[in-house]
């Protein structure tokens, strides 16, 4: 396991990409602040309220999911439970096989949960044509890339790169004008929406009280994917549930404000089920796949609070490490501060021991989080867990340092020997010195001065 892989990756990121990510992130931070200030007289109180509702949800997750299942079934939504990725992919494939033959089109709206379980790969292997329809995700798909941000997937790309990709795919004459590129994508994807048998989406919020699935978006591809085809499959992590519809105005405002700086997304889609007998369009079947994939384990452990996350991406936008290294550095479907906790929490610290170290613990993420997730605390706990399990070999011998710090005498002796440290080779010293000059003792020595006073 490559130890500081985030650091390694960061060194290879072109300056152009860092600039794109940084500029976009800074703009998003500003728009989040002004959106939330406009939305709430007391932003902090709104966040506390949302944190409380999410904590309550997690405390009662089992019974809320049972209630959701019941209400969804009454609405005509078929509910499936998947304990892990394998199970989820099997269930979804079965639904697809019953609805469409290999070669037919499945349109996809953006869903991090489906990326997490690598659904596309699974469906494509079984012969289906899977088409991502969110513009950013479509670009990611045709480039055989992965999203570098959970809300704005191609924040690491510029228009030239998109133009080249579209030309390569034969979408139209070469153009770098964003609106023209978007229209080429629209034209190409329209045919897919029209002919798709199946549409797959994620879930922003599932409402236990009413058995409704809530999807938010700006482009219209999510509505099209979940309305035009005969079958709609929605995939949700178990924690994406809210107790009641009365909670929605608060959460919609916080999610949208934090994610894109808008008051509300262009479309808020409240799905009550398949088309009813008096309706002339809409899917004939709606399926909800409830996905665990490690979340119940997280719920019962010290990182439980990360499950409050509503996937707004605000923590990514504000994180100095994310801005410098970009999303792909985390080598996980979830990146930034969210990923640094959720990744090892879901998969085990054994698989991802060093992600939690890729942080200065500045706390900007916690400050930005609409549901007040204590990310820095959990990063520290992850580091502790990794050390206790012997997964992190620190080059600095902290035990020696600390033993030295348990005696005033030993400590004062150590200080006297500090000037000789400049002669010692050590990876930590080299790590510092690679980019910075070493600190030097400046001015008077405090202890000597203090002693001289008395």
């Amino acid at each position: 396991m490559n130890r500081q892989s985030v650091e390694q990756f960061s060194r290879s990121v072109p300056a152009e990409t860092v600039k794109s990510v940084r500029t976009a992130s800074a703009l998003k931070v500003e728009s989040r602040k002004s959106a939330l200030k406009e939305a709430f007289e007391d932003v902090d109180a709104a966040r506390s309220q949302a944190a409380h509702i999410k904590s309550y949800t997690l405390d009662n997750l089992g019974s809320l999911l049972v209630q959701l299942e019941l209400k969804c079934r009454l609405n005509g939504i078929v509910v499936h439970w998947a304990k892990d990725a394998t199970s989820a992919n099997k269930i979804i494939l079965e639904i697809c096989r019953a609805a469409a033959s290999p070669g037919e089109i499945i349109v996809k709206a953006k869903s991090m949960a489906t990326e997490e379980i690598h659904l596309n790969r699974h469906l494509i292997k079984s012969g289906y044509e899977v088409v991502e329809t969110d513009l950013g995700e479509y670009v990611v798909q045709i480039d055989n890339d992965t999203p570098s941000h959970i809300v704005t997937p191609i924040i690491h790309k510029n228009r030239k790169q998109v133009a080249k990709s579209f030309e390569r795919e034969g979408l139209g004459p070469y153009t770098e004008v964003p609106s023209e590129l978007a229209m080429q994508a629209r034209h190409h994807l329209r045919e897919k929406f029209h002919n798709a048998k199946i549409g797959i989406s994620g879930v922003n919020f599932a409402i236990a009280e009413t058995g409704r699935i809530v999807l938010v978006e700006n482009e219209g591809n999510s509505r099209l994917s979940t309305t035009a085809p005969d079958v709609h499959i929605a995939v949700m992590g178990i924690e994406k549930i809210l107790p009641s519809e009365g909670d929605l105005p608060l959460f919609l405002r916080l999610l949208t404000g934090s994610a894109t700086g808008q008051r509300i997304t262009t479309y808020v889609h409240l799905i009550s089920g398949p088309r009813r007998r008096d309706e002339q369009d809409g899917p004939k079947e709606v399926h909800l796949v409830i996905l665990d994939n490690g979340r119940s384990k997280v719920l019962n452990g010290p990182y439980r609070d990360i499950l409050r996350c509503i996937r707004c991406g605000a923590c990514l936008n504000v994180c100095p490490v994310y801005r410098q290294a970009s999303g792909h550095a985390y080598k996980h479907v979830y990146s930034g501060p969210l990923g640094a906790v959720l990744g090892p929490a879901l998969e085990g610290v054994e698989k991802l021991p060093d992600l939690a170290k890729a942080s200065t613990l500045c706390g900007a993420c916690e400050e930005a989080c609409p549901v007040k997730i204590p990310i820095p605390k959990m990063l520290l706990q992850l580091r502790d867990e990794a050390v206790r399990k012997g997964l992190l070999k620190d080059s600095i011998p902290w035990s020696t340092f600390s033993i030295g710090s348990t005696s005033g005498f030993r400590w004062r002796m150590g200080l006297k020997m500090l000037p000789m440290a400049s002669l010692v080779k050590h990876p930590a010293k080299a790590g510092w010195e690679e980019f910075k000059d070493l600190p030097k003792k400046e001015g008077r020595d405090f202890r000597r001065w203090w002693h001289g006073r008395s």
């Binding site: 976009a24 703009l27 007289e41 309220q49 409380h52 509702i53 309550y56 405390d59 009662n60 997750l61 089992g62 019974s63 999911l65 439970w81 304990k83 513009l135 950013g136 704005t152 997937p153 790309k157 998109v162 964003p178 609106s179 978007a182 229209m183 629209r186 994807l189 009413t210 700006n218 482009e219 219209g220 509505r223 099209l224 035009a228 178990i238 519809e245 009365g246 909670d247 929605l248 105005p249 608060l250 919609l252 008051r263 509300i264 262009t266 479309y267 808020v268 889609h269 409240l270 799905i271 009550s272 009813r276 008096d278 309706e279 002339q280 369009d281 809409g282 665990d292 119940s296 719920l299």
Partner: protein, 178 residues
């Protein structure tokens, strides 16, 4: 053990069932006129616009689809354009939300979902008394059918953060209060 049972067992069933209800901010007392004024401002900020019924004739020269309530109100018959060929979709809204410039549509008899989605121009007719101030108020009156809250034209900023309208949904949204 089936996945469902395994997941529920892992989640356990103990949980404190009390919670504080969401504090609803006090409702602004605005006149109908003031609400429509705010609505207009918000809608126009997003690139949508307000129009009058008289402008509709010209718009309907293009291939259109219409929901039944609109057809009855306008005294027109749906002209049989297949939904994917329609350039204009005319639907009557259940609600308008002033604070965001949104319009709300529930599905139902004679109310095709796609009419407000596939055409490039969406015309939303709405009786003037069907406006509320806030999203919270709208939720208090929400239909239990599949519903969409539409706020302005479809948009994306995926390419370099540059705003583009009309990506998959309608690029033009016209609201006609009646």
């Amino acid at each position: 053990m089936a996945d469902r049972e395994e997941i529920l067992a892992a989640l356990g069933s103990k949980g404190n069932r009390t919670r504080t209800p969401v504090a609803i901010p006090p409702l602004p007392q605005l006149s109908n006129e003031a609400l429509w004024s705010l609505f207009r401002q918000r809608l126009e900020e997003l690139g949508g616009r307000i129009a009058t019924l008289s402008e509709l004739e010209a718009i309907l020269a293009r291939p259109f689809v219409m929901d039944v309530e609109s057809a009855l109100r306008l005294g027109r018959i749906h002209d049989g354009t297949p939904i994917w060929d329609a350039e204009v979709g005319v639907t009557t809204a259940d609600l308008a939300i002033a604070e965001t410039g949104s319009i709300v549509f529930a599905t139902g008899l004679g109310r095709p979902r796609m009419a407000s989605l596939t055409p490039t121009l969406h015309v939303a007719i709405i009786p003037k008394d069907r406006i509320v101030a806030t999203v919270a108020e709208a939720f208090a009156r929400m239909s239990d059918r599949t519903t969409v809250i539409i706020t302005g034209p479809s948009r994306t900023a995926d390419i370099e953060g540059i705003l583009v309208r009309g990506v998959h949904g309608p690029g033009d949204v016209v609201v006609i209060p009646v």
